[in-house]
């Protein structure tokens, strides 16, 4: 269990955050650029000084320890691999820095690289690697010192789209099997929703909301959270339907989606799809028109946020729609009432997890 309650000066503002991550929990720090996410994890790692506060790992305060004595492994944004050392020596670095013999450290590093970065030449210099390969090496290096806390800072931001899906799957496996609290820094809501058990939303150096991805999606507390986190998310098997169109069989329902470009027309597992609530239209009666997806549901909750209302529907699948408060009044939408939802297939954004295997 990692518990942090810290204030960190950064420029002329102070980043303040209090949150915890359980032993088997992945917590995402989600926020726009400049929200203070990296500042917080660097303070936890001891790399930037805190103005005040405590950082406690398994009931043991670590905030007074110098960075090299904190049992924390970080994969930095962009990797920050040592350019003068080979891939192997980069991964062996945390082991050797803690006093292991070079031979034993290299053996451990080779084992990790074989698992996380197969196909990458251990003798290569980091400057010759692609963004995805660098991130894999950074991940191996973060784990090499057998840390008790794992921190990943924007692990997908420097990775091009073709390699992203495969790396995301690797991140999920790595986070899932890590024995201790995990922190994931990201500005990408899909990354947070798919990789984290709990999300801490940071804006302007303050925590604005904490909750499971579902809780934040259903009831976002700020405009930012509503716009970015409050997406409808479907995960499931993608099946071809007709030319350029497929159906996504999610756990709680089926949606019609455009077939992703450049992807072979065959069933694909573990496909992610997002749909902005603002793209879901609500109707009092079954709608006529061109929308491919028409779903009947019951209003579970209406949350007002400014002049917009988020309407949560039970149905197949479950949906969140965002409409104006005027429409809520006009259609007499209320909790427990029946309503029709529709959205066009083209509004759905697909992410295919299984990428081409030769992207390394």
């Amino acid at each position: 269990m990692l518990e942090a309650a810290i204030e960190v000066p950064r420029g002329d503002v102070t980043v303040a955050a209090a949150f915890s991550a359980g032993h088997d929990e992945t917590v995402a720090l989600l926020g726009p650029n400049g929200a203070g996410k990296t500042t917080i994890v660097e303070a936890i790692a001891g790399l930037v000084p805190t103005a005040s506060g405590t950082i406690v790992l398994d009931d043991e305060p670590i905030h007074d320890l110098p960075p090299e004595r904190r049992p924390i492994g970080i994969a930095f944004q962009d990797g920050v691999l040592f350019p003068h050392l080979s891939v192997l020596e980069n991964v062996a670095f945390p082991v050797r820095a803690r006093g292991a013999r070079p031979r034993a450290a290299r053996a451990h590093a080779l084992e990790l690289l074989g698992r996380l970065a197969p196909g990458i030449d251990p003798g290569a210099k980091p400057g010759t690697l692609s963004g995805g390969a660098r991130q894999r090496v950074a991940l191996a290096r973060a784990l090499a010192g057998t840390p008790r806390v794992l921190i990943l800072d924007e692990p997908l931001s420097a990775v091009d789209v073709s390699a992203r899906a495969e790396l995301r799957a690797l991140l999920r496996r790595t986070l899932g099997s890590f024995d201790g609290p995990r922190l994931l820094v990201t500005h990408d809501p899909v990354e947070a929703m798919t990789l984290a058990d709990r999300v801490v939303v940071l804006e302007g150096g303050r925590i604005t909301q904490t909750g499971t991805p579902e809780e934040i999606r259903d009831a976002p507390r700020t405009r930012y959270a509503a716009d970015l986190v409050g997406m409808n998310l479907f995960v499931g098997r993608l099946m071809p339907l007709e030319a350029g169109v497929g159906v996504l069989e999610a756990a709680d329902g089926v949606v019609t989606v455009p077939w992703p470009e450049g992807v072979a027309v065959e069933p694909i597992d573990d496909v992610l799809a997002t749909l902005a609530p603002a793209d879901v239209a609500l109707h009092a009666a079954r709608p006529e028109g061109s929308a491919r997806n028409v779903i009947q549901g019951v209003v579970e909750e209406v949350a007002i946020l400014g002049d917009r209302a988020r309407v949560r529907l039970s149905g197949s699948p479950r949906l969140v729609a965002e409409i104006t408060t005027g429409s809520v009044a006009r259609m007499a939408i209320r909790t427990g009432g029946a309503v029709w939802a529709s959205f066009k297939a083209v509004e759905i954004h697909l992410m295919v997890e299984r990428g081409p295997t030769d992207t390394l």
């Binding site: 090299e68 930095f76 945390p94 820095a97």
Partner: protein
């Protein structure tokens, strides 16, 4: 192009003239007559010793200048750079007043420890180091300032103690600049004249390095001076060509 040709010519002309006027017919005699081998060996020993000391002392100094935050840092840098600006003779006089037998510190060195620097090879090394060290300090400081500090922070987060991080990350990452600075320091040390002759004197076999031997030969045997100069040119160019392409040029 014209300006570049002029620039190259201004460097080449004196060197070519040395070759033209060299007393090729009595080369052997001139060499032995002026003690060329003794002076050359001493020059190489003194310049290498001065370079080694400059690196050992200069790198920590560069670190303090690049990373230290204390009042008077810019003043310290100015003082460190001073030997580049000063005529070397002034450095020699300063060293004499400081470390000479009756100097401020030198008197104490002599009385308490029995150490004398003037008129010794050690004195030549001290004078040469004084003049040439700023080059490696400045090059290394520039390297440290240009360093992406994220790597050192990453190394600390990976469990590296400050000394371990310096040894395995900082130092290797500034190695190119440090090496270039060391080559320049060595080149400057090889040509050192003013401070050495003023502080250490001109004693054959002890403090008489090549430039000093050339200076002395010129008064009694101009042909010998040309031969000695040619030797220095050949040695310098060989070393700079062997190292320079890799260390001072584009990588």
């Amino acid at each position: 192009m014209a300006l570049a040709s002029f620039g190259a010519a201004s460097v080449l002309l004196p060197v070519v003239a040395l070759f033209v006027r060299a007393p090729w017919s009595r080369l052997g005699g001139a060499l032995s007559g002026v003690g060329a081998s003794t002076a050359l060996r001493l020059s190489i020993e003194v310049s290498l010793a001065a370079t080694a000391i400059s690196v050992v002392v200069g790198v920590p100094l560069a670190w303090v200048l690049a990373r230290g935050e204390f009042p008077g840092r810019n003043l310290l840098r100015a003082v460190v750079v001073l030997p580049i600006v000063l005529p070397p003779v002034v450095g020699g006089v300063g060293l004499l007043v400081a470390l000479g037998r009756s100097g401020v510190v030198g008197r104490w060195l002599h009385d308490a420890l029995g150490l004398q620097l003037t008129f010794t090879t050690a004195g030549a090394v001290v004078a040469t180091t004084f003049v040439s060290m700023p080059l490696v300090v400045l090059a290394t400081e520039a390297g440290l300032r240009g360093l992406d500090r994220r790597h050192e922070r990453a190394a600390a987060a990976m469990g590296g103690s400050p000394w371990y991080v310096f040894r395995r990350v900082t130092l290797p990452m500034v190695a190119p600049q440090l090496a270039a600075g060391a080559v320049l320091t060595w080149a400057r040390a090889l040509g050192e004249f003013g401070a050495t002759i003023t502080f250490a004197g001109n004693l054959a076999g002890r403090t008489q390095t090549m430039p000093l031997a050339i200076y002395q030969a010129r008064q009694v045997d101009p042909g010998g001076a040309i031969v000695l100069s040619l030797i220095l040119v050949v040695v310098s160019v060989s070393v700079l060509v062997a190292l320079g392409g890799r260390l001072t040029g584009p990588r």
